[in-house]
Amino acid sequence: MRAAKRIEYTKKLLDEIGIGSERLEFFHIAASEAPLIAETAKEMTERAKKLGPNPYRIRLQQESKKDKE
């Protein structure tokens, strides 16, 4: 599948730039699998919690705080 391959490639890029490939994932979800999407959403939220905030976002916030001061 095109998307799956592209996501694989993008994961490599994310590792290179220090965002981390774990922050991106591809899932096969069929139209009937409502519980699965809820499960996936939960899983990714948990994962994001464990990984901590996106380091780039933290930097942005620090910069804007500095600017305000």
């Binding site: 890029l13 290179e16 730039i17 220090g18 965002i19 780039y56 930097r59 942005l60 910069e63």
Partner: protein, 230 residues
Amino acid sequence: MITADRKPFEEIKESVKDYKKIMVLGCETCVAICQAGGEKEVEILASELRLAFGNEGNKVEVSEELVVRQCDDEFMADPAFLEKVKEADVILSIACGVGVQHACNFFNRTITDKPIRVIPGLNTTFMGANIDVGLWEERCLGCGDCVLEKTGGICPIARCAKSLLNGPCGGSSNGKCEINKELDCAWNLIIERLEALGDLERIKPVEMYKDWRASYSGGPRKRVREDLRL
């Protein structure tokens, strides 16, 4: 077209790490077609640089620019564009080696009050064709003395590992080359093609040694059309 591969991100990052204003400059011709230096690649590389430097707390400005051809003066002569070039600390060009050199030469010729630094973001590979989606193969070495009329439109110079002119070597087996089993033997292809064309007679005469002076062996080449010169 001329094909190229992007340099490893680490290498690119290392080469521009000392600059605050980086301009990623793409080229819309060959390297855009082989998906190495076109509009999409400019956007991706610029975004990657912003994220990577941002992560480290290194505040950089990354701008994105695109020209039709970096190997031609006229596509870069726009004064507004040159003004942007002047503002940048470094130009990260993702064109082929020709584009990088020509852009560097052109910028430094036209912008006289400040030297312009141009850095390559690609490794230029070869002159090739788009064989299939996402697949490119070498087809021409630019030897300066084309023999395709004798070989059924298949080049023994570029596609035979030994650039043989008079039939396959002993290493050709089952239509594959001895240096790489994935590679077709060019001479096998040539003979099959000539057979289909009914032109096998064409390769009967022994081809004498080739004049490699027309190729790069004669030193860097120049092409002049006197009637076009001013």
